[in-house]
């Protein structure tokens, strides 16, 4: 293998995607995107959450088949029928969370599934270790091929993952947010490896949210928005502002059912809330009837903060006051009793107890209220369930049937009923519309407005800018565990929020 030192960018792309489209029921994840990757060049793929980046990676690695469009390598069309085909075509990916095996050695991890064989068809251990050693050497990783993975640090495991990705004669290397879990020093090491790969003539697709990193390591960029490629070019000729505009510059295509509600006095006051490792010094005031958007990148500490508010984890410092009275939340019970509820992500999985009857699910968070002298009053539980079933138009043969027998929509109504039954003052919604289609989103947003109109205060954690801008009365942004600002709705633009979230001042 002759190493070509690429000085100037080659005229023809090594890999080209033309007009790639991919739909899922209700969602067009990719809509005619064009991406070109050049040998010896790092191309950054930039876009909001849900812009289609992960789908693109899956198309390139043969996991998804595109509905339309062509993939060309060296100008010749190829079909990546499955992961093996993509590997044979020289395309390899390093994912955010790589699957490696703790009990196997470094060499075994690198060659798992494609170990070199002897003539008898047995694993050629000597060759495997030698090649693993060479691969590790090629990325400057001082790790023994004999070491067991469980004895390595996180950063070393990352290097093993990279070696594994390179073990298949890769020409195209995809790095999906490779720096997400790395410290500053480790990022520097990673960048040295990327430089080396560039020197070897590999085409690299680098996916990251962080502008500093993108500008430091990449030469070219592609911006995705809502499944389309909306811009591409050289980073040297393009300013950050321009890229931010490409990312968010949308015509707001769906009207949010935001109802203007008279905002009342303070309900929840948070002062200096901190956690030893996840977030620090969060202070804000939530007012009656207000929807407070909480924006930030994935991993900015938003969910962690909300879980602490709800008592699932304990803060190390900070004070809470609810309606002017100091409040200590040590457990979810405390939070629910005080009137704070938290609706987690993935309500399907975390929402209802499926084998349990409807009425027991509805009363689950308020068992204290339906208990007399230590015994549950089934009649009261039924009455409670009936009240919310009527209000939410819940359809079921009887309130005693298990929730698992209901349709998805009715299951969700049971979950809502459970939270409304606690008579909350503050409701925290974590990514309320993640992964659902436009129509369902509108229903969620309408419901949120309804809650606010009834005088509830809502904290809406969301990674989707249109939702944040469309629904919030105020927006709070977190970045790397800290609050970077709170903005009133009026005159707020997406660029401001993206800058606050990415640290691009």
């Amino acid at each position: 293998m002759s190493v070509v030192q690429v000085v100037a960018e080659p005229a023809h792309p090594l890999l080209e995607m033309r007009g790639i489209s991919k739909s899922f029921p209700g969602v067009k994840a990719l809509d005619g995107v064009d991406v070109a990757l050049y040998a010896g060049t790092v191309t950054a793929l930039i876009g909001e959450n849900g812009a289609g980046k992960s789908t693109l990676v899956k198309v390139l690695t043969g996991i998804y088949q595109p509905d339309a469009g062509d993939i060309l390598i060296d100008g010749a069309p190829v079909r990546l029928a499955d992961a093996q085909a993509a590997m044979r075509a020289g395309i390899t990916a390093i994912h955010q969370e790589t699957v490696l095996f703790d009990e196997l050695t470094v060499a075994e991890n690198i060659f798992l599934g494609h170990a070199p064989k002897t003539r008898l068809g047995l694993v050629d251990w000597a060759a495997m270790r030698a090649r693993a050693g060479a691969l590790l050497h090629s990325i400057d990783a001082p790790i023994s091929p004999y070491a067991r993975l469980k004895d390595l640090s996180i950063a070393q495991r990352h290097l093993v993952a990279i070696a594994r990705a390179l073990s298949v004669e890769a020409r195209v290397v995809i790095m999906d947010e490779p720096t997400a879990a790395l410290s500053y020093k480790e990022v520097e090491d990673l960048f040295r490896i990327i430089e080396r790969l560039k020197g070897q003539g590999k085409a690299i697709l680098f996916i990251s949210h962080k502008f500093e990193e993108v500008y430091e390591i990449a030469e070219r960029f592609v911006v995705f928005r809502d499944g389309r490629s909306v811009g591409a070019g050289r980073l040297a000729e393009t300013g950050q502002d321009e890229i931010v505009r490409m990312m968010v510059g949308r015509s707001v295509e769906h009207v949010f059912p935001k109802v203007e509600v008279a905002i009342g006095g303070p309900v929840l006051e948070v002062a200096g809330y901190s956690h030893p490792t996840e977030f620090a010094d969060i202070s804000f005031t939530l007012r009656r009837g207000e929807i407070l958007g909480l924006y930030g990148l994935v991993g900015a500490g938003r969910s962690e903060f909300c879980q602490a508010l709800f008592g699932i984890t304990r803060p190390s410092a900070g004070r809470l006051a609810l309606e002017g009275r100091a409040l200590t939340v040590r457990s979810p019970q405390d939070a629910i009793a005080a009137g704070i509820v938290y609706v987690p992500e993935e309500r399907g999985r975390h929402g209802a107890v499926l084998p349990m009857p409807i009425f027991q699910n509805v009363s689950m968070a308020v068992l204290g209220r339906t208990t007399r002298a230590g015994f549950l009053r089934l009649a009261e539980e039924f009455a409670l369930a009936r009240r919310y079933a009527e209000r939410l138009d819940l359809r079921a043969a009887a309130l005693s049937v298990p929730v698992g027998t209901l349709s998805g929509g009715n299951q969700q109504k049971v979950v809502i009923a459970k939270w409304l039954a606690t008579l909350p003052k503050v409701i925290i919604l974590d990514e309320p519309t993640k992964g659902i289609d436009i129509g369902s989103k509108a229903a969620v947003h309408a419901f949120m407005s309804e809650l606010a109109a009834e005088g509830l205060s809502v904290i809406m954690v969301s990674s989707e800018l249109p939702e944040i801008l469309g629904m919030s009365d105020r927006v709070m942004v977190m970045r790397e565990g800290r609050l970077t600002g709170i903005w009133e709705r009026d005159g707020l633009d997406a660029e401001t929020l993206v800058r606050a979230a990415t640290g691009n001042a």
Binding site: I312, S331, P332, Q333, A335, I336, Y342, V343, P344, R347, R349, H350, G351, A352, V353, L354, P355, M356, P357, Q360, M364, A365, L367, G368, T371, G374, F375, L376, L378, A397, S400, V401, P402, G404, T405, L406, S407, G408, G409, N410, Q411, Q412, K413, V415, I416, K418, L429, P432, T433, I436, D437, G439, S440, K441, A442, A443, V444, A446, F447, M448
Partner: protein
Amino acid sequence: MMMSRILKYRELLLGAIILALIAAFSLRAPGFATPRNLAGIFNDTSILIILALGQMAVILTKSIDLSVAANLAFTGMAVAMLNAAYPGIPLPLLIGAAMAIGAVLGAVNGFMVWIIGIPPIVATLGTLTIYRGLAFVLSGGAWVNQTQMTSAFLDTPRIPLLGLPLNGWTALLVIAVIAVIFMRTGFGRALYASGGNPTAALYAGIDVGRTRFFAFVLSGTLAGLCGYLWVARYAVAYVDIAAGFELDTVAACVIGGISTLGGIGSVAGAVLGALFLGVIKNALPVIDISPFWQMAISGLVIIIAVLFNARQERRKGRLILRDAARSPAPAAAEGAAA
């Protein structure tokens, strides 16, 4: 709808199978189906029923208690020795002591699972050995014989009341108390919730770890009670009593439809599962089937019951997907769940 019907159907089915077995056995062995003999079988199965109900509480929370029989052996030995050494201690106090010792041993399991975070199967496998070892240490390997124990201690469970010995009445009382606890108290509800969906339970303010702890305490308390009943019944206490009996309690639960994945099962199911094993055990010798066949038949039934459970759980999964895919309206409501 379907699931509750299967659950109800399942208990009815098990009840029907038990009745059919009794009918079939009575054809071969006249006198098998007399009330007197049936009461005898129930009495004979009482200890298994009580232990199975404790085991059920633990299994509902996605755990397992393998130490129940060892707990029984230790508490049985402890109260037998107390009785032998201090014949003056009144029986209610001894029974209370058995339950208290059992509760402490159960709490040790619960503590390891809740606070230290040891997987239940490992924790109770460890205490299984430890509790038997403690029984040996306590007794020095010696037996406590019939002659050393007081007649009140040995004979009280045998006193018949309306044709059923007090031993059997104890089981009926435990069934009633457990049924009320499981169906009518916050703790019972928490057992089902924390096994059925631990995350949902957590967010609804249910302390899943503490619930599991108390499930182990309950299981231990009932094992302690059974420690006394066992020693009184067989009129002897030694280190190896009820060896391997923990597996019968798990089998009774599985046959009775208590899901090993947690959160599913009824008191009636566990009781019927225990009775099923009791009937088989009592009937097969009557019709001259060797004890080895008994074991094989019990094993076969357990496997069939597990298959039944697995099918049931698979159906549960399919149902949700099909409905979610079928109608767009629920999808809209799905959003509203936020």
